[in-house]
């Protein structure tokens, strides 16, 4: 790559069409190069991570004015901050002077950021506040070009903060479109319709970021990739126990009553609730074993009697996968965020969530629910996701056989009446169908075939987005 291709300056330039995506992405298959070509990865960091709304952080990570948390927009280092006036901003973590990062903490509280290299300082709005020995400069630093760069459009949806550099994107709500409904449902099962983050299981794998997105609504892999988990969760079952965990994938999931639904812009949804008993206590009944389970269940049942089931369900994993392109996944009780590190390295952070119960809707049981909920959430990252990540790494290894060019995603394609449209026009397929993957790849293809107009902000008082 030539220096002109760099996006880290905050000003992006087209690289020219090096790849014809009409030759790389077909309805039934994609070319291996989208996972293995460095130049394509560089383009993605501009056309996808920057060109669309990208998840940056959650408001519970910056509850007070002056709180900040480190994030990334693609590879760009970002400080997501609630500035001293309460406005949420996404600042480039890059000194305007010579380029150093100005914030080196993961999380904290600061009214200003001071560059450790030459002491240039900035308010947490991004506005420059001063430089050492200013009389050595001919200018007075009132020009906004000296303010920190920032993501010009930052919007939240119910606590989830997103940013884009693309002025041509629709509003965040329009971008989310149909996926707002399952996200609303997921939030609204909790008191007050809200949650807070409570640390994370942080994982990584040596593979391209899309391998994770490709997996996110995949009901085909479950009983194969997660075979050891399914066996583990059911090893202690008594004869009259219900099957635990994701056992509803066993035998013939395509004949089971759950489905995958495809929304606009690459978002999709696996709704497994129709496969399980969702009456109060139904989710709890299929939870695998977890530390403290019997202890807290006894306390909650003793305290709440026949109201206990719905409270215990809040400690149970909600059987949905809500995937918001390109980097946000809501599943179980997790908020899973994926972060490209390089062409063949991806971080995936499984944020745990805790219930907040301001109005005591859980009758004094919120601490017990959260103590259980921490443990239920540690299970899948430990005993399920690691096997997926190994399989992603082994896909990346397999794709080094470059003469074998194609990756197939045609399960369900061409079978009459298999894929339907719901009343809103969204495609619905059986749980193991790859329709979600085909549709996402068409969205990706459109993005990769167009050079977005990316801009950064410097003007501090610009109208809120």
């Amino acid at each position: 790559m030539t220096p002109d291709d760099s996006f880290t300056s905050g000003i992006t330039r087209p690289t020219g069409a090096q790849f014809d995506f009409n030759e790389l992405i077909f309805e039934d298959r994609v070319h291996q190069s989208i996972y293995t070509e460095e130049a394509i990865f560089r383009e993605e960091m501009r056309k996808v991570f920057g060109g669309v709304w990208v998840y940056l952080a959650h408001e519970s990570q910056i509850p007070e004015n002056d709180n900040f948390v480190a994030s990334q927009l693609g590879l760009r280092p970002i400080i997501v901050v609630r500035d001293s006036t309460g406005r949420i901003r996404a600042l480039y973590n890059r000194c305007t002077h010579r380029g150093s990062t100005v914030c080196r903490q993961q999380q904290g509280s600061a009214k200003s950021f001071v560059c450790p290299y030459h002491g240039w300082s900035y308010f947490n709005s991004g506005k420059i506040s001063g430089v050492p020995w200013p009389d050595g400069y001919a200018d007075d630093f009132s020009d906004p070009k000296y303010n920190l760069a920032q993501v010009p459009r930052v919007q939240s949806y119910r606590g989830f903060i997103f940013g884009t550099l693309n002025p041509d994107m629709p509003s965040l709500e329009d971008y989310l479109g149909g996926v707002k409904k399952p996200l609303d449902d997921w939030l609204d099962r909790h008191p007050g319709g809200k949650l807070s983050f409570c640390d994370a299981n942080r994982l990584k794998f040596n593979g391209n970021w899309k391998l994770l997105y490709d997996n996110s609504a995949d009901g085909y892999h479950v009983i194969f990739s997660h075979r050891s988990l399914l066996a583990m969760e059911n090893r202690l079952n008594e004869a009259d126990d219900e099957d635990k965990g994701m056992s509803y994938y066993k035998s013939s999931p395509d004949n089971a009553p759950f489905y995958v639904k495809v929304f606009e812009n690459g978002h999709h949804y696996k709704d497994k609730r129709p496969a399980v008993d969702t009456s109060p206590g139904g989710l709890w009944a299929i939870e695998g074993p977890h530390p403290g389970m019997e202890h807290y269940e006894a306390i909650i049942r003793d305290k709440l009697g026949d109201k206990a089931g719905s409270v215990l369900d809040l400690a149970s994993s909600e059987p949905v996968n809500i995937n918001i392109f390109p980097n946000l996944h809501i599943l179980g009780n997790h908020v899973q965020v994926s972060q490209p590190v390089s062409l063949t390295e991806t971080d995936t952070t499984w944020w745990g969530t805790a219930v907040i119960d301001d109005k005591d809707e859980l009758h004094g049981c919120v601490d017990a629910v959260n103590a259980l909920r921490m443990r239920t959430q540690e299970s899948f990252p430990n005993f399920g996701e690691l096997d997926d990540l190994m399989n992603f790494e082994q896909i990346q290894a397999g794709l080094a056989g470059v003469e074998d060019e194609w990756v197939y995603m045609h399960r369900g394609l061409g079978i009459p009446d298999r894929i339907k449209r719901d009343t809103d026009g969204y495609l619905i397929g059986p749980p193991t169908d790859e329709v979600f993957l085909r549709e996402t790849m068409q969205v990706y293809k459109r993005l990769m075939m167009n050079e977005p107009n990316l801009v950064i902000g410097r003007e501090i008082e610009a109208a809120p987005d």
Binding site: P291, Q377, L386
Partner: protein, 193 residues
């Protein structure tokens, strides 16, 4: 015993969590450091044996070093945190440790096929007394080297073992594993540290 902790988890409750948080707060004081070389060597032997059994993949034998109501804990924050309100990298009670062993011995646990080979170094062993003469705390520094799927990597940090004197010998009550990079993204941590 009223409940079998291999099958049910009644012991991980408020009292257990509180005692855990309390016993891992401010325990490494100069005043409480044990200077008796024999007692320290007893602790060191237990840690060495644990490392050897794990390196030899003798997981069922390894678990016999632990009391029935035990804990294997890898915090996700450098200060250890409060596991009631924070996700941990691992927080395994007896049943979940047995789950973990069951899965590692299952031939379909792809993250451990082929099985990792490991070589563990344990050093800087210091033992500390507690108010209870039958309870000791032991700090040690570890370096666990792993060979997995053609790739060599390592985990390092310090262990905080809580030991109890039971039936004439020292057993492990709690093993806390403090990775120096516990708050970073980790690649395929599927072995027992």
């Amino acid at each position: 015993m009223q409940h079998d902790p291999s099958r049910t988890s009644y012991y991980v409750g408020d009292e257990f969590y509180q005692s855990l948080v309390d016993s891992y707060a401010d325990w490494q004081t100069d005043d409480s450091e044990i200077t008796d070389p024999a007692l320290r060597d007893t602790c060191r032997m237990l840690l060495d044996k644990e490392a050897r059994l794990l390196d030899q993949n003798r997981l069922d034998d390894w678990l016999t070093l632990y009391v029935p109501e035990c804990l294997y804990w890898v915090p996700a924050t450098p200060h250890g945190g409060d596991p009631r309100t924070e996700i941990a990298v691992c927080f395994d009670d007896r049943r979940r440790i047995e789950d973990r062993i069951y899965r590692l011995q299952n031939e379909y646990a792809w993250s451990q096929r082929p099985l990792s080979r490991t070589a563990r170094l344990i050093t800087n062993v210091s033992a500390f007394s507690t108010k209870d003469p039958d309870t000791l705390m032991v700090r040690s520094t570890f370096l666990t080297n792993e060979f997995q799927a053609g790739d060599k990597r390592s985990y390092t940090g310090w262990y905080g073992h809580k030991l109890g004197f039971q039936n004439g010998g020292w057993k492990i009550l709690v093993k806390q594993v403090n990775l120096i990079d516990c708050d970073q993204n980790l690649r395929n941590l599927s072995i027992i540290l």
